[in-house]
């Protein structure tokens, strides 16, 4: 039997299998097809979360070991008012970062989608390249730029705008600048994808019916881009709340965030149960927020717009 003869037969079998899956005749086949992604999600998402949850109910032994006995004391400790300002600051920083990202990303994505023409691919690549860079390299670069002897201070001194070097590092400004820098692509890409999907004929139709450029934007483009705005905000806000590297390197004691607190429990303090409890609380707050938003969203006009496309 030559391979050439064998091939059509095996393809035929695969075809038959696939068509029976699609038509739903082969019960359970869809589970088989879902298995790889379920396995990945299970191993790398569900399992770690379950582990963190389990650890958060254990006791810290001497020298940071885990004592497997059930306790809720970690949660009681984590909910002490002393930690509220850290949590509040994390949400504030993430919120400010998200708004700044949105303010920068919307015009950027809009220009990319509507005016970039043939340069679109190159521009998106330029946006992505810093993102592929090691984030440590980027953070050290920012430290050099923002330092007392750094480029920014040098430039401001040269221009005569300041008389003495300004302390940028260790301030909220530096942390938020870093966060905006790191999370900007998370805002730009979903926005761009959403704007790109708006049929241009709708914009033509709006102008045709008498709406000027600004009115067309407000009545057509903006409402239809809201799903992208929301997706971008979630994708920026959620990882931003948990970020600790940026605050670690560019911030100081006044910019201590919930991410730093959790990281320190696992690294410096060797208190995994307490860190686990903090992480679990953060997960609960964020997922409650996202679920509430999705519930709200499923009834709104933007959800309808999403369904149409």
């Amino acid at each position: 039997m030559t391979p050439g003869k064998a091939a059509p037969r095996s393809f035929g079998r695969i075809d038959a299998f696939l068509s029976s899956v699609v038509s739903g005749r082969l019960k359970g086949a869809s589970h088989v097809l879902l298995a790889p992604s379920s396995l990945v999600l299970g191993l790398f998402l569900i399992l770690p979360v379950v582990l963190i949850l389990a650890i958060s109910f254990t006791k810290r032994g001497p020298y940071g070991s885990l004592v497997w006995s059930f306790t809720t004391s970690n949660y009681l400790q984590a909910l002490r008012p002393a930690y509220f300002p850290v949590l509040a600051r994390s949400f504030l920083f993430a919120g400010v970062t998200t708004l700044l990202c949105l303010a920068i990303a919307y015009p950027l994505a809009y220009a990319l989608s509507f005016f970039a023409g043939g340069f679109r691919g190159a521009l998106i690549l330029m946006l992505m390249v810093p993102f592929w860079n090691s984030c440590l390299v980027a953070i050290y670069s920012w430290m050099i730029l923002l330092g007392r002897e750094g480029l920014l201070n040098g430039l401001l001194l040269r221009l005569g705008l300041i008389q003495a070097p300004v302390q940028f590092l260790g301030t909220s400004f530096a942390v938020i600048l870093g966060l905006v820098y790191f999370y900007l692509p998370f805002m730009v890409l979903p926005l761009y994808a959403c704007l790109e999907k708006i049929p241009r004929s709708l914009i033509d139709a709006s102008k045709d019916l008498g709406a000027g450029v600004a009115t067309t934007f407000l009545k057509v483009t903006l409402p239809l881009s809201l799903p992208g705005v929301f997706a971008g905000c979630i994708l920026t806000f959620v990882p931003c709340v948990g970020d600790f590297l940026t605050a670690d390197f560019l911030g100081g004691t006044k910019t201590y965030l919930i991410g730093n607190l959790i990281a320190n429990q696992f690294l410096a303090a060797q208190d995994w149960p307490f860190g686990g409890a903090m992480a679990a609380i953060l997960i609960v707050i964020l997922s409650t927020g996202i679920f509430a938003y999705l519930r709200l969203e499923s009834g709104g006009p933007e959800a309808d717009a999403l369904k149409v496309r």
Binding site: S201, D204, K207, D208, L209, A211
Partner: protein, 367 residues
Amino acid sequence: MGKTPLLEISRIEKSFGSQKILKGISLQVFAGEFLTFLGPSGCGKTTTLRIVAGFEEPDKGTVRLNGEDVTRLPPYKRDVHTVFQHYALFPHFDVFENVAFSLRLEKTPEPEVASRVRGALDLVKLGGFEKRRIDQLSGGQQQRVAVARSLVGRPSLLLLDEPLGALDLKLRRQMQLELKAIQKKTGITFVYVTHDQEEALTLSDRIAVFNAGEIVQLGDPKSIYETPRSSFVADFIGSANILEAQVKLNDGEHVVLLVEDEVELRLPRPVGFNGAEGAKVPLAIRPERISVHFEEPASDAGRLTFPGALQDVVYLGSATQMIISPFPKSAKVLAATIMGKADVSIDGARRRVWCEVSPRDVLLWPS
């Protein structure tokens, strides 16, 4: 005529990159008219429409609306509305808000908005659909909403860019009649783009036939069908047997043509035909203008007859098409359409037949 045309396009040229899409389009459209741009895809008809709507600026030439030069005006400053090919309805608004869009922009008072939207929806037979979401409508209903949305603002000119292209044949026929009725009822001037010649013949007061960036013929459906000005028009509007003929004799009164090197036809010289002796010219005969006989007809001086072999019989329902080969040496065949029930079955194929044509139906063109 003395009348100012509602729309006057003069010598419009447009290139995209190095490709010249429009090579000097001139056209006048009068108030109340239903004019169709007809042509194959890529002929420039949609580009011309987009220039009239204001979405494209021509490289050269002017567009005048009611005598006013609007060539450089953006679409929102023109008293022209468009029905788009894929309707372009706003998915984030319901039917009512889609139709009310232009009224809201003009800050029309709410009671008037309500009554005018209702009127427009009644006109397209969609009363009661106000609160429907766009994705809950069928293609035909979406098309009606698009028409209502464009008509509600009472534009002086409505442009329709292949509005029925996405509908199935039956619905398309029905919508054609409804569009025509709406146009009559509202008195609004329609400029309609289509590549469907049957649609153009059904709807239009006048047809502008486009080919390769030019208007090759402009006239009412009958004159375009009966006296096409080129073999392209003859072929594109309706169907035609396009043949090649050599002029054997042209004495000003009569011409003798050798068709496909085999059949000689002698006929009175058609007006304007100036083919020189020896020249090769295109010749067209419409399938329904050929009568087919199974016995040699008595010779009639006024008619042209030539024999052929019946190759195939195609049943078309309301008509029967016969494929005849009058030129044994070439592969060229003639199609002849017999309306109604033809008394010939497929078994009759390969029989010897005689084709009869009136000289008037042999189409020839000045070169």
